[in-house]
């Protein structure tokens, strides 16, 4: 009955949570420092961020990539809002562990801790934004490449469950600005989020 429908409906939110969290990475926008530790230290100083995004989905199913547009807002330590404008209006808000989804006049809330497979992924993003390298490395193998002028973080899941769907997350940045977040899935599909600062 209604309760059941409610449970079934949660599935959609779960997926939404996954992609939202990938966006979180996009908001640590300053990357000064000489090495990974310095980058983390700089990121931890970030209190607020607001950018617009373009997300492209390269899927085997599609002859050409599907695109979405919107805005991202981040407030330290753990509040994130992703407002998608096109192709479907939708607002996802992550506050602490609770994800709220507003879509088509409907509101759903979801506790991300309900999904253990997501937890390492979420925590790693948080750890990145908070500049918490130990937590990040507990969950991912972290590879820092390039220079501070043009750098790349490659996160590979340690958890076998997470590794089943996500091969790696690549975050690119130029000096103190995040430019792209790319999620590469195990089936070869990938999504590429390109960020542009308002200022």
């Amino acid at each position: 009955m209604v309760v059941i429908g409610r449970v079934v409906g949660m599935q959609r939110v779960l997926a939404i949570g996954t992609l939202l969290l990938s966006s979180v990475a996009a908001l640590g926008q300053q990357a000064p420092g000489n090495d990974l530790g310095e980058l983390m230290r700089q990121l931890s100083g970030r209190r607020h961020g607001e950018v617009s995004f373009v997300e492209q989905h390269f899927l085997k199913l599609l002859k050409h990539p599907a695109e979405s547009y919107g805005e991202l807002t981040y407030d330290a330590p753990d509040r994130l809002e992703k407002r998608t404008v096109e192709p479907k209006a939708e607002t996802l808000t992550l506050a602490g562990d609770v994800l709220t989804v507003v879509r088509g006049g409907r509101v759903r809330t979801l506790d991300l801790k309900a999904y253990p497979t997501l937890v390492p992924f979420i925590e790693s993003i948080r750890a990145t934004l908070a500049g918490d390298l130990p937590s990040l490395e507990r969950l991912f193998t972290v590879d820092f490449a390039g220079t501070l002028a043009r750098w790349r973080l490659t996160l590979t899941p340690r958890d076998a469950q997470v590794a089943k769907t996500v091969s790696r997350v690549t975050i690119d940045g130029t000096s103190d600005t995040l430019t792209t977040v790319e999620i590469i899935e195990t089936d070869g599909d990938r999504s590429l989020m390109t960020l542009r600062n308002h200022q």
Partner: protein, 796 residues
């Protein structure tokens, strides 16, 4: 003489044994069903069945408090696992993800039969393109990850469409994988029992199983620093708790009032044999009363049992009159006053008239159509008749040869001396006072008439306020559907009601979009009618047509690669030849429980229930007028489709009963007037006997109104009891003033009144609302009846 004594005693013992045997084997119930109509109309029957056996009646709400957040979540999951394995529960949910897997598989496997989007247009080139354009948009949205794997099989998004329709309601919050309350301090579960809500024994068993599962889960999860606490609520919990509560209160109060009455009688009689003999009518009356109810009604309501206490109050009076006044007879005989006949001739006629008066009053409850009240009536009548008969026929036979109790003449004389000045000094003053009092009481009642009577059925709920509070909290936490508004579709077959449900849901869809209704649930969402399923299956195109349509749909700028959609072609072809869904196909999914809850089958009659939810963002009730209009406009064969507002209907039902009970009580009063008129051979005397009783009832009603108590049907019963008990007092005073009776009458009435006031007074502290209503009415009423009778009858 000796043979007669043996015969009388043997007959009494036999009846006692039979009554005890029947009472021991009787079934005891406590749910609200005793306060539902015995002969409902078709519409009332749905209402009654909903309240007794409907999905709402089988709901068990579970809260887990204390301990740590993770501890509560772990216990919630472990409890869910255990209850799911228990056949006593038809469904269990705690928000856990895994439990929905089977449901999703079922919805996916049968998506083309279940989706209301399935028609020929949907699978034309244009229809496919429209649907798949949505899907491509979804792929680009954050939902892409999950639907991606579905798209090759389901490019038109039917599975998500079905899920969306089923999940259109606010969900409780999830924390640590389980549902929690708004503040996060309570983990939540919802279970539905397999047994109906009115089966109190099964409910008690299910509650025991839930407690055991909780204890085992706590053990399994391991001890935590702070102990975890289990909260249970729901109609079954109420019924079980109130049964326990009523039985407990009845036993406790019976013992308490028995002890008090025994102490009083011991101090009065100063004779153990007199005391023991005096209790015989009480015990006999109580047993015969229960046996009579069990025989006539099949089951005894707990509240009737609670009434046993009240019967003690009245039937003990009989033996008090017998002992005190027959002792007087002995004494008078010893002094050689030959004009006094035996007890039976002097006193019995008055007692008998008092008893008949009571019987007239209670008889008015019998045709109330309200099984609970009819039970009270039957219990009281049979109990009083039995108690009076034992007093009249058995007690004299059991009286020891040298029977003697303390002479109470001095006590009576003192009382007589105390009330005497009132008459001598003030003449007709008591009557003036009485009229003034009646006027004031009437004025109070008229002023309070708007709020005088409580018209809500739930007021009769035997649940305590603490239980009601927990229930309200858990329901608010869960957003549990109150199922107070329903669309009911009735018909002669499952297929007919499913078709009706589909038409009704379709007619109401615009109102859901306009947020006049927050949402609607229908059995046809889980199991469409065969006609609909056939139409949907027939609309699926054959492979060549579908391939052509698909190629054309993807030829434009859609972006979907038709080569990736081969599984879709295969699935449609399989669906074209799949058998239609029958109820058994849902087995193993929680959709099955949902379907069962929304279908009712009794005899040749099927009913589909479509619960409505209140509009979003509004605490107000659903405006039912546009609903009725929409259903009527949909060409509704209005006889088989109607809107049922359960709360309104049940309150209307109760109001009807209240009115009926009031009319019947007035009829009972009229019968009492006629009886007294005939027995006393004077309308004036009858009126004089009744005056103190009416005044007592008015005073008590006015006092209750002044205290802000809203009167229920149980208060009305209490008023009837005031008349029943008080009539004895008034009749004895009448007889006394006629024959110049002595102080012994006063003494016996005073003792009897004391016992009655104690018996009913204790009910006021029972903690069971209906019994409290009775106690707070009768205890002061009985005392006032005696007082008014003493003051008024003497000075008439």
């Amino acid at each position: 003489m000796r043979a007669r004594r043996a015969a009388v005693i043997a007959a009494w013992l036999c009846s006692l044994a039979v009554a005890a045997a029947v009472a021991l084997h009787a079934r005891y119930i406590t749910d609200l069903s005793a306060f539902l109509p015995a002969h409902p109309t078709a519409q009332q029957r749905i209402l009654v069945e909903q309240l007794r056996d409907g999905p709402a009646s089988r709901l068990l709400l579970v809260g887990i408090e204390g301990g740590s957040r993770l501890g509560r979540a772990a216990v919630s999951n472990e409890m869910e696992r255990r209850l799911r394995a228990d056949a006593e529960f038809s469904s269990v949910s705690n928000g856990q993800e895994a439990s929905a897997d089977r449901d999703r598989e079922f919805l996916f496997a049968h998506r083309y039969l279940l989706s209301d989007a399935t028609d020929a247009q949907h699978f034309s080139a244009a229809g496919l393109e429209t649907a798949m354009r949505e899907t491509v948009a979804d792929l680009a949205s954050p939902e892409g990850l999950i639907i991606k794997s579905l798209v090759p099989h389901d490019p038109t998004g039917e599975t998500l469409h079905i899920i969306d329709r089923l999940s259109r309601m606010p969900a409780p919050q999830l924390r640590d994988g389980v549902w929690v309350s708004g503040d996060g301090n309570r983990a939540l579960l919802v279970a539905q029992t397999a047994a109906s809500g009115s089966d109190t024994d099964a409910q008690e068993h299910a509650i025991g199983a839930a407690r055991a599962a909780f204890a085992a889960a706590v053990h399994e999860v391991g001890a935590s620093a702070q102990p975890l606490e289990l909260l249970l609520s729901g109609p079954g919990v109420f019924a079980v708790a109130s049964r326990a509560g009523i039985v407990h209160a009845a036993v406790r109060l019976s013992i308490a009032s028995s002890v008090l009455i025994v102490l009083i009688l011991l101090s009065v009689y100063r004779s153990v044999p007199a005391l023991l003999l005096g209790l015989l009518p009480v015990v006999t009356g109580a047993l015969v009363g229960i046996a009579a109810v069990a025989l006539f009604f099949g089951a005894v309501h707990g509240i009737t049992l609670g009434f046993g206490v009240t019967l003690i109050g009245e039937s003990v009076d009989y033996s008090i009159y017998f002992f005190i006044q027959s002792a007087r007879g002995e004494a008078v005989a010893a002094h050689g006053a030959a004009d006094e006949g035996p007890w039976q001739r002097r006193l019995w006629p008055t007692m008998r008239l008092g008893m008949l008066t009571s019987v007239c009053g209670f008889a008015s409850l019998l045709p109330s159509g309200f099984p609970g009240l009819a039970q009270l009536g039957a219990y009281s009548i049979s109990g009083l008749v039995a108690a009076a008969a034992v007093t009249r026929f058995v007690l004299p036979e059991l009286l020891p040869p040298r029977f003697a109790i303390r002479d109470l003449t001095p006590l009576g004389a003192r009382v007589a001396a105390w009330i005497a000045p009132a008459g001598r000094a003030r003449g007709r003053a008591p009557w003036v006072l009485a009229l003034a009092l009646a006027g004031v009481a009437l004025a109070v009642l008229v002023l309070a008439r708007g709020t005088l009577w409580n018209r809500e059925l739930s007021r009769l709920s035997p649940a305590s306020p603490a239980q009601e509070r927990i229930d309200a909290e858990l329901r608010a936490d869960l957003g549990a559907p109150d199922s107070l508004d329903l669309v009911v579709v009735s018909g002669a077959s499952l297929e007919e009601v499913l078709r009706g449900a589909e038409r009704a849901a379709l007619a109401l869809a615009p109102l859901v979009d306009a947020n006049v209704i927050g949402g609607i649930d229908s059995p046809s969402y889980y199991l469409p009618s065969l006609a609909t399923q056939t139409a949907r299956r027939d609309s699926l195109p054959p492979p060549d047509t579908l391939r052509g349509n698909l190629d054309r749909a993807t030829a434009g700028g859609l972006g979907l690669d038709s080569r990736e959609l081969t599984p879709f072609l295969g699935d449609i072809e399989a669906a074209r030849h799949a058998p239609l869904l029958a109820p058994r196909d849902l087995a193993g999914t929680s959709l099955s429980a949902a379907l069962d809850a929304l279908l009712m089958h009794a005899g040749e009659r099927w009913s589909a229930l479509l619960p409505l939810r209140a509009p979003h963002g509004s605490a107000s009730d659903i405006d039912l007028a546009p609903l009725r209009a929409a259903l009527a406009a949909a060409g509704g064969e209005s006889a088989s489709v109607y809107v049922l507002d359960l709360k309104h209907e049940s309150d209307a039902l109760y109001a009807e009963y209240l009115h009926r009970a009031m009319r019947l009580s007035l009829a009972g009063l009229a019968a009492i007037v006629v009886l007294l008129w005939i027995a006393l051979r004077s309308l004036k005397r009858a009126a004089l006997v009744l005056a103190p009783l009416v005044l007592a009832v008015l005073t008590v009603a006015a006092l209750l109104a002044l205290c802000g108590v809203e009167l229920t049907i149980m208060h009305l019963v209490g008023m009837l009891l005031i008349v029943a008990v008080g009539s004895n007092y008034a009749l004895f005073f009448d007889r006394r003033s006629e024959r110049g009776g002595g102080p012994l009458t006063l003494a016996s009435l005073l003792i009897a009144n004391l016992c009655t006031v104690i018996g009913f007074g204790l009910l006021s502290f029972s903690g069971v609302p209906v019994l409290e209503a009775l106690g707070t009415t009768v205890a002061p009423g009985a005392f006032l009846a005696l007082l008014y009778a003493a003051l008024l009858t003497r000075h008439a």
